[in-house]
């Protein structure tokens, strides 16, 4: 058998960090004969291999595409900075891992947009692939660059760089899109005509057929299609039945350790909770559960096909999955026999989950995680986080009785309406949890005598399609003041020695806020940041705030406009042309309720008429 060729020479592979990132050939990776497929699709996660390989969405699409006989889907990740420099110097074009062929020769380059700070890496990928960065400059033989993922719900800051954005869940429309592509190719209709036709498929946003007009104050006057027949709004695509769809039961197994180094079993999509800061909770409505018997079958198949030593359940809120006890019992039984660990993230801490964790964890008890998100009940009502202090303290007491001694707490700083009082609440809650330990566990049973509370704060970033999309974001200085106040308040607590406090960088949070609610004019900013040498901005060590501020200034734009001002209720947002199911009216109602400190029931308790019922599936049609 002939060896697979490698795009990189031996000299380069011997010189760079972790050459395994670039050689492909992993177990379950798919090889096809390029002469026997009609479409070659390069699927990219614009970050380093270890991050990209941990993403379930790409695994699902990789599996789906490769199940199509006429398509070969391969993977692409951002080369790490060491290889990036070599590729530029030695003029090596970016290649896909499986065939090691240049991405430039593919039919499609799909890029998933999972977080705003990867936008400069999108430009890195295009540039290294030698694909013109502006979609308008791409010729007939250039791959069609298509974006997807949560950030494509406000695609405007990247509008110049993409030919198409696929809005919504990828399982539904790709077949049609690829068939259309093949037809256009057969009849030599050309790139623009293909895109014109694609723009008329449900879920496809083709930015070149739209224009924005701005008011004098910089807000949007009008956003409109520039050609007859191009839809004014794009409705998100959604999988009606999440049980009967693609599931990657043979995921690619990386040689090196990656971030998510385990089997991932997606038990449901969406979330019933409706936390007002959370974008995923709105975008993926309505909640759709997978059938438990199917999940059991998948779990066993994946244990057999992967050889992984750990399985993890994935969902936005696992505790809300109706058949969780049955599924967990099954996994405990099957995994126990195979020396496979079970990891259960996003569980609410209560008697049930502690019992489960007792069963799945060994003597070395890991830490427990609570996400109160805000320090006071008042602010938790504002954000609609249905977690009470009583529930937290009760959960903590149960956990301490069960032998846990480490608790992690996640909070956000800078939430709308936040006061000093709320911030002190973070310190007080942490203190009460520590006190609960000393009250619950008698001295003689305190192993090591100590409890460890780790309180972490991140800075709140308002996101599109949330009730807080109108809210102002704090400035960097506000954020740092708040972090300082939190630290001071914690140091004043009786149990301060048991509490450790961590906070995030403020700079990048503000820039994330700018990009999240940005418009088309930011394309130029992103391009300039990239041209000044910026990429891997999601990595603290490579993020340079000055580079971003300079680029904003050069373009006559400001962070204040995009991030720090409160938006009036009648403002047209750059993302308003996208229909994610949840209506703007519902979001407005929730924004008003937030200001009145009123909570909303979750989807299981009472329908809030958010609009997602129009999809005709999921929890909206289940008996309550």
């Amino acid at each position: 058998m002939r060896e697979r060729k490698l795009a990189l020479s031996d000299d380069i592979l011997m010189r760079i960090e972790k050459p395994e990132r670039y050689i492909g050939g992993e177990y379950n990776s798919v090889m096809k004969d390029p002469s026997k497929v009609a479409v070659r699709f390069a699927m990219c996660f614009p970050d380093v291999y270890e991050i990209g390989m941990s993403h379930l969405g790409i695994q699902i699409l990789y599996d789906m595409f490769n199940s199509m006989e006429d398509v070969w889907c391969e993977r692409v990740y951002s080369p790490w900075v060491d290889l990036d420099a070599i590729m530029r110097k030695e003029h090596i074009p970016l290649f896909a891992l499986e065939s090691q062929d240049p991405v430039r020769d593919f039919d499609f380059l799909g890029i998933t947009l999972q977080y705003e700070m990867c936008y400069t890496n999108v430009l890195q990928v295009l540039d290294l692939a030698r694909i013109p960065i502006n979609a308008a400059d791409r010729g007939e033989n250039c791959p069609v660059v298509i974006g997807g993922g949560p950030c494509s719900y406000n695609p405007e800051p990247l509008a110049d760089f993409f030919d198409i954005f696929y809005i919504g869940e990828g399982e539904t429309r790709y077949r049609e899109l690829l068939t259309l592509y093949e037809e256009c190719k057969t009849h030599c209709l050309g790139r623009v005509e293909f895109l014109r036709r694609a723009a008329k498929l449900p879920g496809m946003y083709v930015p070149r057929f739209y224009e924005a007009a701005y008011k004098e104050d910089g807000t949007i006057e009008r956003f409109f299609p520039v050609e007859e027949g191009i839809p004014e709004t794009i409705c998100k695509e959604i999988v009606m039945d999440v049980t009967d769809t693609y599931y990657p039961t043979k995921p690619v197994i990386p040689f090196i350790k990656v971030t998510q180094d385990r089997i991932v079993l997606e038990i449901q999509r969406g979330c019933i909770r409706g936390c007002r800061f959370c974008q995923a909770g709105q975008l993926y409505r309505p909640v759709r559960e997978r059938d438990v018997e199917t999940l059991k079958k998948y779990a066993l198949e994946m244990l057999e096909n992967t050889g992984y030593e750990e399985i993890s359940l994935s969902s936005l809120s696992s505790s809300d999955y109706s058949k969780l006890p049955e599924l967990v019992d099954f996994l405990i039984e099957e995994c126990g026999k195979r020396h496979v660990n079970i990891s259960l993230p996003s569980l609410r801490i209560d008697a049930f989950s502690l019992d489960v964790m007792n069963k799945v964890q060994d003597v070395k008890k890991s830490s427990l995680t609570f996400a109160p998100e805000a320090g006071s009940q008042r602010l938790r009502n504002v954000i609609n986080k249905g977690l009470t202090e009583e529930a937290i303290l009760k959960g903590a007491a149960l956990a301490f009785e069960g032998g846990w001694t480490r608790v992690k707490l996640y909070f956000m700083l800078g939430l709308p309406t936040e006061t000093e009082e709320d911030i002190r609440g973070i310190a007080e809650l942490s203190n009460k949890i520590a006190a609960t330990y000393f009250d619950t566990v008698p001295k003689e049973r305190r192993a090591g005598g100590r409890v460890q509370i780790v309180a972490s704060t991140s800075f709140f970033v308002p996101k599109p399609f949330t009730p807080f999309q109108w809210a102002p974001q704090c400035t960097k200085e506000d954020f740092l003041d708040k972090a300082y106040l939190t630290r001071t308040a914690i140091s004043e607590q009786l149990n301060q020695k048991s509490i450790k406090y961590n906070w995030h960088e403020a700079d990048a949070s503000v820039m994330e806020g700018v990009l999240a609610r940005g418009d088309r004019r930011l394309c130029e900013v992103i391009r300039r940041v990239y041209e000044k040498g910026g990429f891997y901005d999601a990595w603290g060590e490579y993020y340079d705030n000055d580079r971003w501020l300079t680029a904003l200034e050069e373009c006559g734009l400001s962070a204040a406009f995009y991030a720090h001002r409160e938006r009036p209720l009648d403002e047209i947002f750059p993302w308003d042309f996208i229909d994610c199911g949840v209506t703007k009216d519902f979001l407005k109602r929730e924004w008003e309720k937030a200001k009145r400190e009123e909570v909303s029931e979750n989807c299981k308790q009472k329908c809030q008429s958010c609009g997602a019922a129009k999809f005709g599936c999921g929890i909206c049609f289940e008996p309550r």
Partner: protein
């Protein structure tokens, strides 16, 4: 019961580091449904031992790993769910009981470039793969355009006639002098003909070197020492190295008797 597994590593997977090869086999052993033994303790792991780590970039025709198994039968992952339909892929996990079957099962779930070539049962008194290593045999060629000026073939007799060959070994605590002459058990060179090596005249060296934990010698150290005698230094990344086999010493204190590690086991 312990199994000694011999495998080859070639092609692009030569860039997979030693620890990742271990992780690869831990998963492959599960996929092959081998009834492997786990250690006791807080975080049980498969009982396995590798002979000698292979450097990144090297290929090999003789890598070794010992695993402890509870039985030769495979674990059938489907036994517990009789209610569920059995597919044909699940049927292949019926019990099988020979070294050849373990070999076939592992290769069925391996990747291109990692290929099991023999599986043997170890006698109870056999030392583990790592402790047993005494020597390793290598084939070494020069990358095109990085051949030395020195005529290696001509230089060999004088090099091997030396009583002492001192080199500087880099260790974690700094560097120290070491005599590698006693650890060069065999060293021969042959010219490759045009047919064998399209790049024209080239040389292929065969080395049998000490690979024990105390005296391990790398092929590059031998070549560097040889070239140093002629005032030449080795170009960067100049060598293409294949480890041919790993040996254990079954001789006496006075007389070495090297045999490949898989000579120790027997086939069942």
């Amino acid at each position: 019961m312990r199994l000694r597994i011999k495998f080859k590593k070639y092609g692009p997977v030569r860039y997979i580091g030693h620890l990742d090869v271990m992780r690869f086999f831990q998963k492959a052993i599960r996929r092959a449904q081998i009834n492997v033994a786990y250690s006791n303790g807080f975080s049980p792991h498969q009982i396995m031992a590798f002979a000698a780590p292979l450097g990144v970039g090297l290929t090999s025709n003789g890598e070794y790993m010992d695993i402890e198994v509870l039985s030769m039968e495979s674990i059938s992952s489907m036994e517990s769910i009789s209610s569920m339909e059995r597919t044909s892929s699940m049927e292949r996990t019926s019990s099988i009981v020979s070294c050849a079957d373990v070999l076939a099962r592992l290769n069925a779930v391996s990747v291109h470039g990692i290929e099991v070539v023999s599986v043997k049962v170890l006698p109870d008194n056999a030392g583990n793969a790592m402790a047993s290593v005494a020597a390793a045999e290598y084939t070494v060629r020069f990358r095109q355009g990085r051949e030395p000026v020195t005529d290696i073939q001509a230089a060999l007799p004088a090099f091997l006639a030396r009583e002492q060959i001192l080199i500087t070994k880099e260790t974690k605590k700094g560097s120290r002098e070491a005599d590698i002459r006693p650890g060069i058990f065999q060293l021969t060179a042959e010219k490759l003909s045009m047919e064998e090596f399209s790049a024209g005249d080239s040389i292929s060296l065969r080395m049998l070197l000490d690979a024990s934990s105390g005296g391990n010698i790398k092929p590059v150290q031998v070549i560097q020492a040889l070239l140093a005698d002629h005032g030449e230094s080795l170009k960067e990344n100049a060598l293409i190295i294949t480890r041919e086999d790993v040996y254990t010493d079954v001789g006496t204190l006075d007389k070495r008797a090297l045999v490949p590690l898989d000579d120790i086991g027997f086939v069942c």
